[in-house]
């Protein structure tokens, strides 16, 4: 359903740990920002550790069919120490990214005024990472032989296709083109991962010809981590593969205010399947249920969701509200709910 139909049919997955608390605030702000003629319809799903323990299920075929019927998905967090590492990640999060072809994994990093960074001198940070979401070493290809013996061999295969690389590179160029600085940096490791590196680099140069206004740049992933702490201002838009994107966006979140304010979108630009929006922080079981979690990352993920569905003014209002809230926050300690309330007031105002 498109924005013009004025119904927003949302799948809501609070998930585990602080997921519940932050999603509640995300929905509160969403309700407050939407114009009165837009009807918000939400359906809550119980994916996560609890359901896994009760049923052994992470995401069934019926679940997938149900999720398909929504305009978008808002996710809190999935993951709990009681579940073996990887089960929910691969059985739910990655499964959805692959099934719904979320090939544009969008992760903006902006150091907002008043927000603390571990870096000296409060540098200007304002870039987005376009991480490929459906290929690379994330495909689950690989295996092991003689498992558990002294002769075990375990492999992981990074799979990269011209089709998959080109569509995400083109998406990144288009995003760079739309920004004032119009600069796109390819991050890879083409001096070592020569086959994949060659493909990424070739496609990057080919697509660059369609965007003559965009300045291009290439940096090895190891060097990129250096620049992210010594000169993050050099980045405008970054495009990179699934694994490198995973790594550098956590670092990017850390330097631009922490994962408390880092939003992300798992986007299917064609709209064939619903896109999913989630804060980058995990379920943080250590602080769950205490009203301590910062809902800003979820609220900013709601902004990405709205922008994706065509609600640009509403998305911008949310971003302005979060920015103002953070700037005025100072040392004050507020509960998850208090921050959500304050943001809801701001976006409505």
């Amino acid at each position: 359903m498109s924005a013009s139909s004025r119904i927003l049919n949302l799948a809501v997955i609070p998930g585990d740990g602080i997921g519940q608390e932050v999603v509640a605030q995300g929905l509160k702000v969403l309700g407050a920002v939407l114009p009165p003629d837009v009807k918000l319809e939400t359906t809550e799903y119980d994916f996560g550790a609890k359901r896994y323990h009760a049923t052994g299920e992470t995401l069934t075929d019926a679940d997938v069919e149900a999720l398909k019927r929504h305009d978008a998905i808002l996710l809190g967090a999935i993951g709990d120490p009681s579940v073996p590492s990887g089960v929910l990640e691969r059985g739910f999060l990655l499964k959805l990214r692959f099934l719904f072809d979320h090939h544009v994994n969008l992760r903006p990093s902006k150091l907002l005024p008043g927000v603390a960074t571990p870096l000296k001198g409060q540098p200007e940070i304002d870039f987005i990472v376009v991480r490929e979401g459906t290929e690379g070493p994330y495909t689950g290809n690989g295996g092991s032989i003689r498992t558990g013996t002294p002769h075990e061999v375990a492999t992981e295969v990074s799979v990269n296709t011209a089709f998959g690389v080109e569509r995400v590179v083109r998406d990144a160029f288009a995003r760079a083109q739309a920004r004032p600085r119009k600069k796109l940096t390819l991050v890879h490791k083409n001096n070592v991962l020569a086959y994949a590196g060659h493909l990424w680099t070739n496609v990057f140069h080919k697509v660059a010809k369609e965007f003559p206004e965009v300045t291009t740049d290439y940096i090895h992933v190891d060097a990129a981590t250096i620049y992210l702490v010594t000169d993050p201002g050099r980045f405008d838009v970054i495009v990179t593969d699934n694994l490198f994107g995973d790594i550098i966006t956590d670092l990017a979140a850390a330097v631009s205010g922490g994962i408390g304010v880092a939003a992300s979108g798992n986007i299917n630009p064609s709209g064939e399947f619903p896109s999913m929006f989630e804060p980058v922080h995990g379920s943080a079981p250590d602080i769950a249920g205490q009203g301590k979690a910062d809902p800003s990352a979820t609220v900013l993920s709601v902004a990405l969701l709205l922008r994706h569905l065509g609600y640009e003014p509403e998305a911008a209002r949310i971003e302005t509200a979060v920015s103002a809230d953070l700037a005025e926050r100072g040392e004050s300690v507020r509960t998850t709910e208090q921050i959500g309330d304050a943001l809801a007031v701001r976006v409505a105002g």
Copy 2:
């Protein structure tokens, strides 16, 4: 030849860019620190961009045989923009690591007093990364089909063996055991790279039983980059795979004073083949030949080399000298040679 024979037979590879300048200072300090009864014999090799352009060679079989005859190798830097990306990296650096079975890639990170870090509040940083050097996605396994067409598929295969993982994990445990804090952190991505992750995690737990005094810890590589900027003091020894190690050691170098002071060793602990020691910084062609390069990283690599060959007091003297030099350096701008001279005086004194 062992340290007790009192001949140190060194292969010296200045290489490209600033490699020449920094290696000269490394040798100066080495000459100054060695006891009078140790005879230093050096043979210089001309590997790098110049030789590649002149002959098309990066490292011949005869070169390899010649290098084998040395106790150790001191490398400046290899790499020049005039050579296509990957040619010297794979044809020389990685080739040597594989041929000489440099499976322990050792990278210490210590923020020395007086040294600037991009991080706020001058945190205490003192850890070492033990990066696997002969497996993972660095093996060159992989390929591409329909190359250059819209239907290209390019793969990279990460190869991990119980043999390869166990020896590097055991080396890391032994290093952790020998340090005051006795803590070892495994960095991987076992929730996504499940086959390799399972192998690494299993072997890690198995070897841990041999080192009951060592506290162990596991962190996903993405989260590790966050801790490296928000809480680097939590790390003592890190063990990780070849690619993750490449990425996090550049970040580690950046936060602990920059690549100007980051040393590394490509170590074959069995001594079957010579180990190679090199600064982490590259050839830095932009400042080459201007006497601007900081030789500290090379000098610290010489310390690692000496420690590897059993010259522990001399290694420690170099580290103390570099530490003191950096602490007193302040804003003073000195040439590469002046820093080398100062360090040579300190280690001799």
